[in-house]
Amino acid sequence: MEFFTWVVKLAKLYMPTFLSGAGTTMLLAITGTVIGFVIGLLTGIVRTIPITENMSSGKKSLLKVVNRILTIYIEIFRGTPMIVQAMVIFYGVAAATGVPLNRIGAGILIVSINTGAYMSEIVRGGIISIDKGQFEAAQAIGMSHWQTMRFIVLPQVIRNILPATGNEFVINIKDTSVLNVISVGELFFAGKTAAGTYFRYFEAFFIICVIYFVLTFAVTRILRVFERKLEGSDVYQLETKEEPLDAATGN
């Protein structure tokens, strides 16, 4: 019975802390995913620019250098834990400039570039998986590479990678917990605060656990509804004011 008493007590006592922690967690996850998505989109686009024969050599080598740098960025951020990246960036910037970073700002920065590295690969895969015929048909009517991307390819890619992006968002809700190492006041940090005062770790983190689950569960459901909306309608309306379909085929 003691367990429930403490859960209720802590929940009452620390409700504002928990709520503000959950708020910060959602803020970090949302902005981090959105900015990371944009970073991933841009790097993914650059990394799939075809190097063609009739490109000037200056343009070719510039593209190769940029690609190299982007690859290094992606490898490093996918190849090291975010908890370590947080320490290195937060204390590294402070040591280099003498001014400590704003903690929330640092958190958003870290989540964004980390998500960007993953999204870049997702976007690149998405672009590669678009049928070559889509590119060729766009080229054949005289569209530039950028026009092809903007009006034909990216709309299809974004729709295809939406589930993967939603997945990144859910991962970010959970993984922003590592930012407690640089004392960002997110949900896990709120749990530590509540637990520490009465040394009630189990009860405090049980509450935290429930809140995390509610957040991810709700977000997953909302994303699913959103996806289904984007699918669009299965039926279309025939525009037949004059006569029914297929008059011209003469079948």
């Binding site: 009739n54 080229q139 054949a140 005289g142 009006f151 279309y236 008059a247 011209a248």
Partner: protein, 247 residues
């Protein structure tokens, strides 16, 4: 003599060490329908793709209205907009409905207003009998319908010539007719057409000239009566015998 719309001179194309096109020479005059026939792998698609620069030729000249477009590769997009292309696999833009498939190029490439572009698009969609389907997505219509929309999309750019790469080869047999009928009608309106096809009936009936390709070279070229009734070359005779035997 009038100047051809497309004049191909000594065109070569290699993929690595594989020489796919060898010293190709031929031309298409304004208002002409030229059919290219030949067995699979003989380089017909590659030739068509070289003509609108989806592939970069390894050598030779492509004169478009007398100007060699390979001299100056900067304005390839403007050149491509002047040549329509109809693909075997249709390649309709999957994210756009039937109408927007025919509008996007006009607005983005030709810089027309949306209203003007839609008017043009509807006119051509009507011509191919697909006006009723403007709101449909490509995944919601049949193969024959897709190909007719693809033709309307190409026509909406009001090109100087239309290139077709086996436009009926990916279709179920019962849908071949509706596409051939549209192409037949276009030929009658005086559209300049370069058509790679296995439909010998179409070539015989509609073409002004027929080009027979084999292993990357043009073996024989002439009016359909000559190619089909009195072929000069042994390889042409053999190909026709093999092809027509199937029917």
């Amino acid at each position: 003599m009038q100047q051809p719309v497309i004049d191909i001179r000594h065109l070569n194309k290699s993929f690595g060490t594989n020489e796919v096109l060898k010293d190709i020479n031929f031309h298409v005059n304004k208002g002409e329908v030229v059919c290219i026939i030949g067995s699979s792998g003989s380089g017909k698609s590659t030739l068509l793709r070289c003509v609108n620069l989806l592939e970069t030729p390894s050598g030779g000249e492509i004169l478009y209205n007398g100007k060699n477009i390979l001299d100056d590769m900067h304005d390839t997009t403007a050149y491509r907009a002047k040549l329509g292309m109809v693909f075997q696999q249709f390649n309709l833009f999957n994210n756009l409905n039937v109408l927007d498939n025919c509008v996007v190029g006009q607005v983005q490439v030709l810089k027309k207003s949306k209203e003007e572009a839609e008017k043009t698009a509807l006119q051509y969609l009507d011509e191919v009998g697909m006006k009723a389907f403007v709101k449909a997505k490509p995944s919601q219509i049949s193969g024959g319908q897709k190909q007719r929309v693809a033709i309307a999309r190409a026509l909406s750019m009001e090109p100087d010539a239309l290139l077709f790469d086996e436009p009926t080869s990916a279709l179920d047999p019962e849908m071949v007719g509706e596409v051939l009928r549209v192409m037949n009608m276009l030929a009658k309106t005086g559209l300049t057409m370069l058509v790679v096809t296995h439909e010998m009936g179409f070539a015989k009936e509609v073409a002004d000239r027929v080009v027979f390709m084999d292993k990357g070279v043009i073996v024989e070229e002439g009016p359909p009566e000559q190619i089909f009734n009195n072929p000069q070359n042994e390889r042409t005779r053999e190909f026709l015998k093999r092809t027509l035997e199937k029917f």
